[in-house]
Subunit: 356 residues, 2 copies
């Protein structure tokens, strides 16, 4: 059974502003290791010598990022199977439905590997090993979600509780848990059967169609109608706006994963994963403070990023974020990293769309 | 008796880095009110209708700032009496000695108004009224220093204790006090007879010569020798390097003011004076946070400066300084404002002379 990677890169988060903007979201920026997360994702799922039967990737993005997708794909040297362009954002259930419909029309037996393009994985081999473990279970009729081994009582992620074993490193899902409070997160961490929900899925296209049909039939019908209405002459598939935009906006977790009896989890993975969601998490992935970087005097535990040649000098500060990019400077304590959108709101109110 | 203003603008402080640099020190930068402190100083001492007999200003600066002095003088529309160029920095006693020698050679009865070009005075009329008050006392054989009415227990300035009255708003100096600790500064503030030493002086050129001769004859002789060795064909007077550089480096306060029996103080002045010495003091002079400036979310009591069009966004910070200028960003708590030189040291160690 061939695995069709479907790479989701249509989102535009605000929490890494000013580096991540609606014009150039974080997945397309060279944030870590000198290469964009999108390009790292494409390389992670390229055919290798580990026996994974991986097809060329299917990219699903927002129409306004077509130029970025094409130019960055060219840089990787990988030819995509297709580039599906959403006319608007409609959350992950719509994306999963489009992916399942699109793949099953090409290959009714195909497996879909649905993955976000804005995560960092420091150990791609460990990730591919998990894909290999998940294939067998998915083939037997499971939607396999990827569980990351938690290394701290994180309150910003959903958790997956593993149930009975299904195969190597795979279990049925006993329960999905929403973002916990800190005490609960501590309990999950010591319990040992919980992993972080990374939002990566492997499933037979036909199984996702069946589960959507059972639990969110309107989303499946909307996706099918949208693809029916879409004229695709080449690799670039501009999804029909009228039908796509009428699909209900709901996450795949709510629409299917928390309702289906077919959920499985592979892991917990120790693959140096990060969602690169906020400035402090990005800071953890950066190299140590070298002499060519910022000037730091009496500072402690700061995340400092400047990608335009600006020299940042910090004196006597602790647990702070300083980010400089293209005419904008952000300064905040790490503890406010979830609130960067307040700045975007203020910029919107000023009409400074050039800055976000 | 004609007053010859001598404007000192050869210094280069580091505490307002990155805006103030050795290449363009703070007195030549548009920091407050959209006009450089140097130009504000020149305007402050221009002839007016208040009866002060002010000659054209004599500028004393470092040779490397000649271009800045000439271009900024041209912007004021004021023609200088002379531009004296020091080949190196030799502290304020040497400057006072050069000023006294230079003026007395032009006009043996001349008064010298010696003043720094890097102070802000929000109420120039109050300052000129103090000059008028000081003229009578200076003429009677006093070196008059200008005392600023203290509005806080500042530990960063020297203080002057007023003695017996000599004339309108003028007293003999009972004592000079070095930078006090906080408790002492509190006591000075409540005592009422202390004022801040602003480093501004009015004196007969001949009296300064006599007092230097009595208390620091080597400095006077060095200055006279330096002027003797200087060829000046036009307004630009390049002081002879060999003789000037051999003058002892000592402040006029130590060399003369603390030893002479002829010290007087005018004031205490309430003229909205500031030495613009650190980022927080500059912040106090800036306009309130408008909508065209930085984006401030949940911030309190911060000084934010960006003069190159950069947008600064600050979230959840308090008592901080953020300064952006020409490829450099400084972030520090206000409490570390005296330590900016540590950053200059680090830049020197890196060979980044382009940045300071």
């Amino acid at each position: 059974m061939t695995i069709y990677p479907v790479v989701m890169c249509g989102g535009s988060g605000t929490r890494l502003w000013p580096v991540s903007t609606a014009r150039t979201p974080k997945q397309f920026v060279n944030l870590v290791s000198g290469e964009s997360l999108f390009r790292q994702t494409i390389r992670r799922i390229a055919p290798g010598d580990d026996g994974l039967d991986l097809a060329a990737p299917i990219i699903i993005s927002n129409a306004r990022y077509l130029d970025l997708v094409e130019s960055q794909m060219a840089e990787t040297g990988v030819a995509p199977q297709a580039i599906l362009l959403e006319p608007c954002a409609r959350n992950t259930a719509a994306v999963a439905a489009i992916a399942a419909e699109f793949v099953s029309r090409m290959d009714p037996d195909g497996l879909v590997l649905l993955l976000p393009a804005d995560h960092f994985i420091g150990r791609p081999d460990a990730f591919r090993k998990a894909v290999a473990d998940a294939v067998e279970v998915a083939r037997n009729g499971r939607i396999v979600t990827f569980g990351i081994s938690p290394d701290r009582p994180e309150t910003g992620f959903g958790y997956i509780k593993a149930g009975e074993p299904l195969g190597p490193s795979t279990h049925a899902v006993a329960a999905f848990r929403e973002k916990p409070d800190r005490a609960t997160a501590m309990a999950y961490l010591s319990d040992g059967t919980y992993s972080w929900n990374a939002g990566i899925f492997l499933f037979p296209a036909s199984l996702m169609q069946a589960e959507l049909s059972a639990h969110a039939p309107d989303v499946l019908e909307g996706a099918a109608a949208a693809l029916d209405a879409t004229a695709s002459s080449d690799k670039i598939v501009r999804i029909d706006e009228e039908s796509f935009s009428s699909i209900r906006s709901i996450s795949i977790d709510y629409a299917v994963m928390e309702r289906t009896q077919r959920a499985a989890v592979v892991g917990p993975l120790s693959c140096a994963w990060s969602d690169v969601g906020t400035w402090p998490t990005l800071g953890e992935l950066q190299d140590g403070d070298g002499t060519s970087g910022p000037v730091l005097i009496d500072t402690k535990n700061c995340t400092i990023h400047a990608d335009d040649g600006t020299l940042v000098a910090a004196l006597g500060i602790e647990d702070m974020v300083i980010a400089v990019h293209d005419g904008a400077v952000l300064v905040m304590p790490k503890s406010r990293s979830q609130d960067v959108s307040l700045i975007i709101d203020a910029l919107k109110a000023r009409g400074r769309s050039d800055l976000f």
